[in-house]
C-alpha cells in the first residue's frame, strides 16, 4: 500500500451492537501508530438500537474529508450479509468487499412489507466480482463469542492495509477490554491465516 500517493478508504458497515465502531477504532489506531494521518467518521446515537451503522476510515499522508467520497471505498467490511448490498455502491471499481455470513433480519421484515433478500451474497456477487465472503459467524461461534465477527473481518482485511501484525496486536491490547484481549488475538490470528491461504 503506497500511502505517499494514495489515501486508503475503508468503509465498515453493520448493524447497531455488532462492534462496527470498535473495528474502525482499531483500524484508526493501527494507522496512527504506523505514523500516518487518519480520519474516521460515523454517526452515533442509534448505534445500540438495531439501526444501520457505518463507519468511514481514511488513511494517508494528509487526509481532509472524514467521509469517503461516494464510489471510492477501496475496502468495504460488512458485518452483515444484506448490509453489504446496501453499501456496495460505495465500492471503488477495483475495491474489495469483505462480507460476513452473519444474517440479521429486522423485525420490520416479519410483516412481509419489505423483504430481507433470500441470498444477499449471491446478489452481491452479481454486482461485483471482488467479493470475499467469510464465514465469520461460524468462526466467532466456534471461538465462543459472536462479537468476534468484527476482529475476524479486520484480520481478513489486514493484508490489504499493509500494516504489521505486531501493530494490530498492540492496538487490540490497547483498545479491547482486558478480559477479551486473548480471545480477540486468537480470532485475529485464525482469521489472518484465512487470507494468506
Amino acid at each position: 500500500m503506497d500511502y505517499e500517493n494514495k489515501t486508503l478508504n475503508i468503509l465498515i458497515v453493520g448493524v447497531g451492537g455488532q462492534g462496527v465502531l470498535l473495528a474502525s477504532e482499531l483500524l484508526s489506531e493501527v494507522a496512527m501508530a504506523s505514523g500516518l494521518d487518519v480520519k474516521k467518521s460515523e454517526v452515533h446515537g442509534m448505534s445500540q438500537r438495531g439501526g444501520v451503522v457505518s463507519s468511514h476510515v481514511r488513511i494517508g499522508k494528509k487526509v481532509y474529508s472524514p467521509i469517503i467520497p461516494f464510489g471510492q471505498a477501496d475496502i468495504i467490511l460488512s458485518f452483515e450479509q444484506a448490509e453489504a448490498l446496501r453499501a456496495v455502491d460505495w465500492l471503488a471499481p477495483d475495491g474489495k468487499i469483505i462480507v460476513s455470513s452473519t444474517r440479521l433480519v429486522p423485525p420490520i421484515a416479519n410483516f412481509g412489507e419489505v423483504k430481507y433478500p433470500d441470498d444477499p451474497i449471491a446478489e452481491l456477487k452479481k454486482r461485483t466480482a471482488n467479493v470475499i465472503d467469510v464465514d465469520a459467524d461460524k468462526m466467532a461461534r466456534d471461538l465462543g463469542n459472536i462479537r468476534l465477527v468484527n476482529t475476524i473481518l479486520l484480520a481478513v482485511a489486514s493484508p490489504y492495509t499493509g500494516f504489521e501484525p505486531s501493530v494490530w496486536e498492540a492496538a487490540i491490547k490497547k483498545l479491547v477490554k482486558p478480559k477479551f484481549v486473548d480471545i480477540n488475538l486468537e480470532a485475529f490470528t485464525q482469521a489472518s491465516a484465512l487470507t494468506i491461504n
Binding site: S65, P66, E83, D89
Partner: protein, 594 residues
C-alpha cells in the same frame, strides 16, 4: 504527543489545557461525549449534568462571574432552552472566560430539526468559532476563552455532528492555570434592570466594534492561495470537503464566523473572477457578505440548504456553478433495500407500555427519548414529538379543544420529565386538565447512551446523591392520582392505564423498570418458541422485538411461525405474556410440560 480524538473528546481536552474549572451540560446528541470525557479523563474540572440546558448555562454564568474559566455544552436545540440567559449574558459579559458549545446536527441524524445556530450567535451578538476538525476543536477552546476574557463576552464554539463525531490525529498541549479575581459585586454590570441594561447594551455594541477589528487580523480567518481565478469562502466541515474535491482552488477559510472579517473578505472577493460560498444549512455567510455589498457572491443556489454536505455534494455544486469541468465521482444513488430503522432493544421496558397503548388505541402525545421509537411500525402508538417536555402541554391543549373523551395520554421519560415536564404537570393540575401522564422511568437518560440524572442517585462525577421520587413529586404538584406500575407486566399495565384514562382529572402513571442496557446489561434466561404449539398468529411479531424472527416453519395459512434468537432474548417475558397458545417458553419448562 499525539492522540486520536473525536471532535468532542478534543473539546474536552481543550477545556483541560485552557484551565477550565467548571463544565456543565445536559446530554444531547451530538454533544454528549464532551462532558463524559471531561468527567472520565480531566478530573481537575468540576463537571455536572444539569437538569436542562438553561440550568447548565446559568451554572456556567455563575462560575464565570465567580472567577473560573467555564465550558457549557449542549446540542443545537438545547441552545433554544438556554436562550434566555444567553441573550442577556451577552450584555453583562464575563469575569473568567466562558465558552458555549453548540453541537448542531445537520441531516438530523438524531434530532427533531436542523436549525443553524450560527444565526443564534449573530442574534445574541456573541462571537462564534467554527472548527473543521479535531485539532481545531481543541485549539479553538483556548482561543475562544481568551477572546471571551479580552472582549468581556461569552463565546460560542459551533460544532456539527460530523466534526463532533469524527476522529482525527490531535497534537496535545500542556495545561495552563488561569487565575481570575473572584466575584466583583458590580451591580451596574451584573444586575440587568433597565437602567443598567441600557448601559450594557451600549457596551455590547462597543465590544462588537472592537471584535470587528480583531477578526480582521485573527489567523483563524485564513487565506490559502493557489493562484486560481475562482475563490471559495468556506468554514467548518465544508472546508474539508472543498479541500478534498478541489485542492487547487483559492480558499478563504473562516474560523471566526461572527463577526465576519468583511474587509479581508472584500479583498479576497476583489482578487477573484468568481466567488462561491460553500456552507451547510442556511446561507449565513452568503447573506452577510452579499449584504456588505459583494453581490456577485453565490452559494446556496448550488449547494442547497438542507442536510449535510459531502465530498459528493460539494463536487456536484462546484460543477453546477461551472467552477470545475466535470465531477470525477460516481452518481450517488441510495441502495434499493429494506429499511432497518432503529428499534426498541430486546427486553426494553418501553415495549410493554407501547403494546398496551396500542391495544387501548389511545391518542399519545410524545416526547424526546428512546420511547419516541414507539411511533414506528409495528407499535405505532406515539402521535406527536416536538421538543423536550412538550408532551404534557400538547396533551393539555388537545384535551381543552377536544374534550376529555378522547383518552389523551402524554408520555415522557424520567430525564425528559425533569428537564422540562415538571412545569407541564403543574399546568395540567393548575388548569384542571383531564389527561393521563406516563413517566416512563427507566432510571437512566437512555437515548443519549446512559447518563445519570437527578433520579438515578449518582452525579456525572460518580458521587452518590439524593434521587427524585417521581410519585412524591407528582403528588406534591397536585396530581389527583399517582400510580406506579411494572411496564413488563402486560395485564397490570393495561388495567392501570385503562383505569387512569377513565378517571377525570390529572393522573400520573410512573413505570418502574430500569433500562435493559444501562447502567448494567440485564440478561435473564432466554425464551424459545415451541413450534408445535405456535400457530403463526403473529401477535408476538407485533411487539417489534428484534429477538423474534420468522421461522422457516409455516402455519396452515402459509404464514411463518415465530423463532427467538437466544443470543438477543433477555427473557423479559413480554412475548410469552401475549402468546395465546402459550408457545413461548423457557427450554426446561418446555421439557417439563411434555
Amino acid at each position: 504527543m499525539t492522540r486520536l480524538l473525536s471532535g468532542n473528546e478534543a473539546v474536552a481536552r481543550g477545556a483541560f489545557e485552557a484551565g477550565v474549572k467548571l463544565a456543565a451540560a445536559y446530554p444531547g446528541t451530538p454533544s454528549t461525549e464532551i462532558l463524559e470525557t471531561i468527567a472520565d479523563e480531566y478530573k481537575s474540572i468540576y463537571a455536572e449534568w444539569s437538569p436542562n440546558e438553561k440550568v447548565a448555562f446559568e451554572v456556567g454564568v455563575g462560575a464565570s462571574l465567580g472567577g473560573g474559566r467555564t465550558l457549557v455544552a449542549m446540542k443545537h436545540v438545547g441552545v433554544n432552552v438556554a436562550a434566555d440567559p444567553l441573550m442577556t449574558f451577552a450584555y453583562t459579559g464575563v469575569n473568567a472566560g466562558f465558552v458555549l458549545i453548540s453541537a448542531d446536527d445537520p441531516e438530523m441524524h438524531s434530532s427533531q430539526n436542523e436549525q443553524d445556530n450560527r444565526i443564534f450567535a449573530k442574534f445574541a451578538q456573541i462571537p462564534f468559532l467554527e472548527p473543521s476538525d479535531s485539532q481545531e476543536a481543541k485549539d479553538f477552546i483556548r482561543i475562544g476563552l481568551d477572546i471571551s476574557e479580552e472582549f468581556d463576552i461569552p463565546v460560542m464554539v459551533r460544532m456539527t455532528t460530523r466534526v463532533s463525531h469524527s476522529k482525527g490525529v490531535v497534537e496535545l498541549g500542556e495545561p495552563v492555570t488561569v487565575e481570575k479575581d473572584q466575584f466583583d459585586r458590580n451591580v451596574r454590570k451584573y444586575v440587568m434592570v433597565p437602567g443598567h441594561a441600557k448601559l450594557r447594551h451600549t457596551s455590547l455594541l462597543e465590544r462588537q466594534a472592537r471584535l470587528a477589528e480583531y477578526v480582521e487580523k485573527s489567523p483563524l480567518n485564513r487565506i490559502e492561495e493557489n493562484g486560481s481565478k475562482v475563490g471559495i469562502i468556506t468554514g467548518g466541515i465544508s472546508y474539508q470537503y472543498v479541500k478534498e474535491v478541489a485542492p487547487d482552488l483559492d480558499v478563504f477559510k473562516i474560523g471566526i464566523g461572527f463577526p465576519l472579517p468583511l474587509k479581508k473578505i472584500k479583498e479576497f472577493v476583489d482578487r477573484h473572477e468568481k466567488i462561491l460560498v460553500v456552507e451547510e444549512l442556511e446561507p449565513y455567510y452568503e447573506e452577510i457578505i452579499r449584504a456588505a455589498g459583494m453581490i456577485s457572491v453565490e452559494g446556496k443556489k448550488y449547494t442547497g440548504r438542507e442536510g449535510e454536505l459531502s465530498p459528493y455534494r460539494v463536487a456536484t455544486s462546484l460543477a453546477k456553478a461551472g467552477v470545475v469541468n466535470k465531477v470525477d465521482l460516481a452518481d450517488y444513488k441510495p441502495a434499493q433495500l429494506f429499511p432497518r430503522p432503529p428499534v426498541l432493544c430486546p427486553g426494553c421496558p418501553h415495549r410493554g407500555l407501547f403494546a398496551v397503548l396500542k391495544k387501548l388505541r389511545l391518542t399519545v402525545t410524545g416526547d424526546i427519548g428512546c420511547y419516541t421509537l414507539g411511533t414506528l411500525d409495528p407499535l405505532q402508538s406515539l402521535h406527536t414529538c416536538i421538543c423536550m417536555g412538550a408532551s404534557i402541554g400538547n396533551a393539555i391543549g388537545m384535551e381543552k379543544v377536544n374534550g376529555s373523551k378522547q383518552g389523551i395520554v402524554a408520555i415522557l421519560g424520567d430525564s425528559t420529565f425533569l428537564h422540562s415536564g415538571i412545569t407541564g404537570l403543574l399546568d395540567a393540575v393548575y388548569n384542571r386538565a383531564n389527561i393521563t401522564i406516563i413517566i416512563a422511568d427507566n432510571r437512566i437518560t437512555a437515548m443519549t447512551g446512559g447518563q445519570q440524572n437527578p433520579a438515578t442517585g449518582y452525579t456525572l462525577m460518580g458521587k452518590p446523591t439524593r434521587e427524585v421520587d417521581f410519585v412524591k413529586l407528582a403528588e406534591a404538584l397536585g396530581a389527583e392520582s399517582v400510580r406506579s406500575v411494572d411496564p413488563l407486566n402486560y395485564e397490570e399495565t393495561q388495567k392501570v392505564i385503562k383505569e387512569e384514562v377513565e378517571r377525570p382529572g390529572v393522573s400520573v402513571v410512573v413505570t418502574n423498570r430500569p433500562c435493559v442496557l444501562m447502567p448494567k446489561r440485564i440478561m435473564d434466561t432466554p425464551y424459545e418458541v415451541d413450534l408445535e404449539l405456535c400457530n403463526g398468529c403473529s401477535l408476538c411479531f407485533r411487539l417489534g422485538c428484534p429477538a423474534i424472527m420468522p421461522s422457516k416453519e409455516l402455519n396452515k395459512r402459509g404464514k411463518p411461525k415465530a423463532e427467538i434468537d437466544a443470543t438477543l432474548c433477555t427473557g423479559c417475558t413480554l412475548c410469552a405474556q401475549v402468546c395465546k397458545p402459550e408457545a413461548i417458553v423457557i427450554k426446561e419448562t418446555a421439557g417439563a410440560a411434555k
